[in-house]
């Protein structure tokens, strides 16, 4: 028997535009990300995905448009908004010479978690990803897949409502990729977590995911997998994606 969950809006992006030295990187971007759902931000390289993430995390600031995170305006209520956010950047952001535990403790300190709570959360998250036994190892000793797991565990330590993933599986082998993809989808459902996942790898999409197709800084399509396929009059998301990105090139 399926249980109906009440979904809340974790991230709302309204009419967001951004330029780098006069060149538009994002134009009138508008979409929402809801709890218990994976929203896949699909786009080829250079589509504006990383720029969008930099704006959500307030590494950049935009004059046009509005970003609201769990009801908090990212520009006006930055700290409240950021406290609801967990991020896994495309590039690894772990300290290679520190152990798994030291890296995670640094994160819990930045988020103000007490020693006891930090210890408990670290154990929980590492156990979930089968990494607890490796907590004493230096990051340098771990392979790419395990490093990614540590980064996912880290992003969840402060119990965020929204998890941002910027191409988290890039450079990983197929089993590591599959395991991370499955884990994250499961996490969204089990923990009512909203996930915004930037990727250009179509096989990472699950049928129930929401899709936002970003190309040349603009949203070309959004909706469920079926809605995107129907709107483009194609048979698969692969075809739909190709059609959207190729049609607009010229």
């Amino acid at each position: 028997m399926s249980r109906q969950k009440i979904q809340t809006t974790a991230l709302s992006i309204e009419n967001l535009s951004f330029s780098y030295s006069g060149k538009k990187a994002l134009e009138q971007v508008d979409f929402t990300v809801k709890s218990s759902e994976c929203t896949i931000l699909l786009g080829p390289n250079g589509a504006g995905k990383s720029t969008l993430f930099s704006l959500i995390t307030r590494l950049y600031d935009s004059r046009e448009g509005k970003i609201t995170l769990c009801g908090f305006d990212v520009k006006q209520q930055t700290q409240q908004a950021l406290s609801k956010l967990g991020v896994v950047f495309q590039q690894t952001t772990l300290d290679m010479d520190l152990t798994v535990l030291q890296n995670l403790r640094y994160h819990t300190a930045l988020h103000g978690l007490s020693g006891k709570l930090a210890k408990q959360r670290i154990q929980e998250e590492l156990e979930r990803l089968n990494m607890y036994d490796r907590r004493g190892e230096k990051i340098r000793q771990l392979n790419g897949g395990h490093r990614r797991r540590v980064e996912i565990a880290r992003a969840l330590l402060h119990k965020p409502s929204l998890l941002l993933l910027d191409e988290p599986t890039v450079g990983l082998d197929i089993p590591s990729r599959q395991s991370i993809v499955e884990h994250l989808h499961q996490l969204a459902i089990e923990q009512d977590l909203a996930i915004l996942w930037a990727t250009h790898l179509i096989d990472e999409i699950h049928p129930q995911d929401q899709i936002v197709v970003l190309h040349q800084g603009k949203i070309k399509q959004k909706g469920t997998l079926n809605e995107v396929i129907q709107a483009t009059n194609t048979h698969s998301i692969n075809e739909a994606f190709q059609q959207i990105t190729e049609r607009r090139k010229g």
Binding site: S21, L59, D61, R63, L94, Q102
Partner: protein
């Protein structure tokens, strides 16, 4: 947000910096070898050619090694400040800076914590240097070793803030070497670290003026006077104002809407 959050975050940032420092023993040794070479070789060689007349805070004729010691402490802090900013540029390129910048605390506080972390390392280095100098018979009054602490903190944060400011402007790691040459060497040589101001005036008024207005000179004078138990008010306020100025520009530099982060491209 509560005060405990701020304290824990600062503790985390300082702890990480100290841990890195302890692990990088070469960095500790290199930071000490540099001023020790100046003290044992350069100063010893210059002792015969350069006489230092009596001038405050010194009450008697002093050896050149005694004169140069506060300047070498300043050198430790100058290099440390630049090293910290270098590590920030590195962190930014490597991405770990992002983790700091997306944590839910004000950016000025995060930068300030980074700064304090760097200063705590440089204070430790300065005291080890002073201990070695003591065995070399460069002895200050005992209270001087206590009074120097706040002076070291202020000069350390001022030089660290300068490093932060530079790191906010520098786009890539490779550009850093040039900046180091344009900042460290002029700042060090155009200061009272190696020669007193009055001595410079004899050879060049311009050099004297540049050295006088160089904040690094005032930081050194603050250290010099405090080491002999005296308070140099002018040097104190000059260093303080320089710190506030550098820190303000650095915070603006790291501000997403106003600063230089935007100009750094898609990092």
């Amino acid at each position: 947000m509560n005060i405990l959050h701020y304290l824990r975050a600062m503790q985390g940032i300082i702890g990480r910096e100290l841990w890195r420092f302890v692990r990088q023993r070469e960095r500790f040794i290199a930071a000490l070898v540099r001023p020790l070479v100046w003290l044992f070789i350069f100063a010893a060689g210059f002792r015969a050619t350069l006489g230092v007349a009596i001038s405050p805070p010194y009450e008697t004729y002093i050896l050149y090694e005694v004169y140069i010691t506060p300047g070498l402490i300043g050198m430790i802090q100058l290099f440390n400040g630049m090293q910290s900013s270098l590590s920030m540029v590195y962190d930014r390129e490597m991405g770990s800076m992002r983790i700091l910048m997306v944590c839910p605390l004000p950016r000025w506080f995060l930068l300030m914590s980074k700064l304090i972390a760097g200063v705590s390392v440089s204070v430790l280095q300065a005291y080890v240097f002073l201990a070695i100098a003591w065995f070399y018979e460069i002895e200050a009054p005992w209270e001087g070793y206590l009074y120097i602490l706040p002076a070291l903190i202020l000069s350390g944060v001022m030089l660290g803030a300068l490093g932060l400011l530079l790191s906010s402007f520098i786009k890539q790691l490779e550009n850093f070497a040039g900046v180091m040459n344009f900042v460290i060497f002029p700042m060090f040589f155009m200061s009272t670290a190696l020669y007193p101001l009055w001595k410079m005036k004899e050879s060049s008024v311009l050099l004297h003026n540049l050295a006088h207005y160089n904040p690094f000179s005032q930081a050194i004078e603050l250290i010099r006077f405090s080491l002999y138990g005296e308070f140099n008010q002018y040097a104190f306020f000059y260093t303080l104002i320089a710190f506030v100025l550098f820190m303000t520009i650095a915070v603006i530099g790291y501000n997403p809407s106003k600063g230089m982060m935007m100009k750094k491209g898609r990092g």
